[in-house]
């Protein structure tokens, strides 16, 4: 029959896709008439494997759920187990956890900056941002032994104490990064072409933002001051003071500004942590005597933590054996990449798809695990 639309896949093998997912687009010319997200390319069946593993074995898998930012998963899992088993984590471990979370958040924002520039064809910003992100990965490697998958936050505390001189190097890196930020602004965020491309594109209207379950920077770009670290403080976020930046425009530019302000906030939080890091040595909770068989009591809980792209929530059910009955993970992209993205792309242009997906921070492994 007469074909006025064409169907293309902004598919798995595409330079403009964030991760291994695909968006099926019906196009008239380059205007999108219908969009449908296809996922499942990265499905490993995490929750099934965690059911077969004890708590300590499951801990190594959990951080592999989300690639750009593994630490919120580890912290979520650890806090869930601690709540179920009632372990009391020493304060030093909480400071270390907050520090690792903020460092992971910083490198995830740098990765977003690289992706945002790349999706606009601005090849300098990915180079600079990823190179600077690498310096954080060096710090991680020094602290935890792994560049991206750290496996540092174990249920009950933290695996290793700080190597000596680490905080000094961290402070030095923060000064270096802060000196680089104005250069980043001039290069991309205040670039006239970026302003013309980003303004008024991919708008989330505040009325339905909450109803769609939008979380994280995308929600804050619509004017809502909601951040799990502020609303339900966990670890040491209660003691650290920081502001939650918001914008009102709700478009790609607004989200970029929110994330840019959050980079500064993360730097100030890390500086406070460096100042207030307690000196004592004790970093692990008192663990059950028989460390082979941890008894996780029957009961369930919901634990939430704030990652760079939004709110991670873990629903964990213990059933009295040494294995968890059920761990269900909901990442921010499960909400952003499917219902929200599909409705936002209708009547927008093919050249904006990559930019919108990057600004929403869609990341497939969170959706299908």
């Amino acid at each position: 029959m007469a074909q006025d639309i064409i169907t293309i896949f902004h598919g798995p093998q595409h330079p403009g896709i964030t991760g291994n997912m695909s968006v099926e687009l019906d196009l008239l010319g380059e205007t999108i008439k219908r969009a449908e997200t296809h996922v499942g390319y990265l499905h490993r069946g995490f929750e099934k494997m965690i059911e077969r593993r004890t708590v300590l074995q499951a801990f190594t898998i959990v951080c592999r759920i989300c690639v750009p930012e593994p630490d919120p998963n580890e912290e979520n899992f650890a806090r869930g187990v601690e709540e179920l088993m009632g372990l009391e984590v020493p304060e030093k471990a909480k400071w270390l956890r907050t520090m690792v979370l903020e460092m992971a958040r910083l490198q995830a924002q740098m990765l977003w900056f690289a992706g945002q520039g790349g999706s606009l064809g601005h090849y300098i910003s990915p180079q600079w941002a990823v190179a600077d992100r690498d310096l954080i990965l060096d710090l991680f490697e020094e602290l935890t032994g792994g560049r991206v998958y750290h496996m540092y936050i174990t249920p009950g505390g933290v695996r290793r104490d700080l190597p000596e001189g680490f905080l000094g190097r961290l402070g030095h890196f923060l000064d270096y990064l802060e000196s680089r930020l104005p250069e980043y602004d001039n290069m991309l965020l205040r670039n006239p072409v970026f302003l013309e491309r980003a303004r008024g594109v991919g708008i989330i209207d505040p009325a339905t933002a909450r109803e769609y379950g939008v979380v994280g920077p995308n929600l804050r770009a619509c004017g809502f001051m909601n951040d799990i670290r502020k609303d339900e403080p966990y670890e040491m976020y209660g003691e650290v003071d920081f502001i939650v930046p918001t914008e009102t425009s709700g478009d790609v530019y607004g989200r970029a500004m929110v994330r840019r302000a959050e980079i500064e906030q993360s730097i100030s939080i890390l500086r406070q942590i460096i100042r207030r890091m307690p000196a004592e040595k004790e970093i692990m909770a008192v663990l059950p005597k028989n460390h082979r068989k941890w008894e996780v009591p029957k009961g369930d809980t919901l634990v939430k933590t704030e990652s760079a792209r939004g709110e991670y929530s873990y629903y964990m059910v213990g059933d009295g054996t040494d294995k968890l009955r059920r761990v269900q993970v909901k990442g921010p992209s499960a909400v952003h990449a499917i219902t929200l993205l599909e409705e936002m792309l209708v009547d927008s242009q093919l050249s904006d798809v990559a930019m919108i997906m990057n600004s929403l921070g869609t990341n497939p492994p969170e959706i299908e695990r």
Partner: protein, 188 residues
Amino acid sequence: MTETIDNLLERIGRNFQITGQEVKKAGLAALHCSQEQLHGVLIYLKEVEKFDTLTMIGCADWIEDDYFELSYMAYSFTTFFTVMVKIRVSRDGSSVPTVEGIWRQARTFEREIHEMFGVDFPGNTRLKEFFLENWQGMPPMKRDFDTVQFVKDHYKLREEGREGACNVSVERKKRIDAKKLELKKEGE
């Protein structure tokens, strides 16, 4: 804060038959109700109590007592409370009417539970295959699905590497001795 969550639970208890309720921790409460009550409670939470969003739909498989426990977790941005509305459905062929009308993102959560546990959600606008392509077997997240057996049937693990698995430290020692030997020979 806890007393307001108790007031909340008590208010809900007045309007609906709640079989059981408990406060898990500050800001998280759970209540059990029947499947018919589910929609009423959720709409009540959203409209009256201003629970803006549905964080997730949890599903745990209690194979011993032969039921799935679905828990709808509504979250309010004003009071920062999360309420888990729990219902019990049978493990095979159960169907729960969709809550997509109340919160749009429920469509994705229900679609995942449908694929992983086999619970049907009539009214959901997109219940087609989500993660698994051309999946013929039973829903994989049910406890009676044995994943190791599935792996043995469908995939072949590499055999030749297994029997040659050697002890790393022994190998290392052998290598070092050979090196010393060689150095000594060159020395003469």
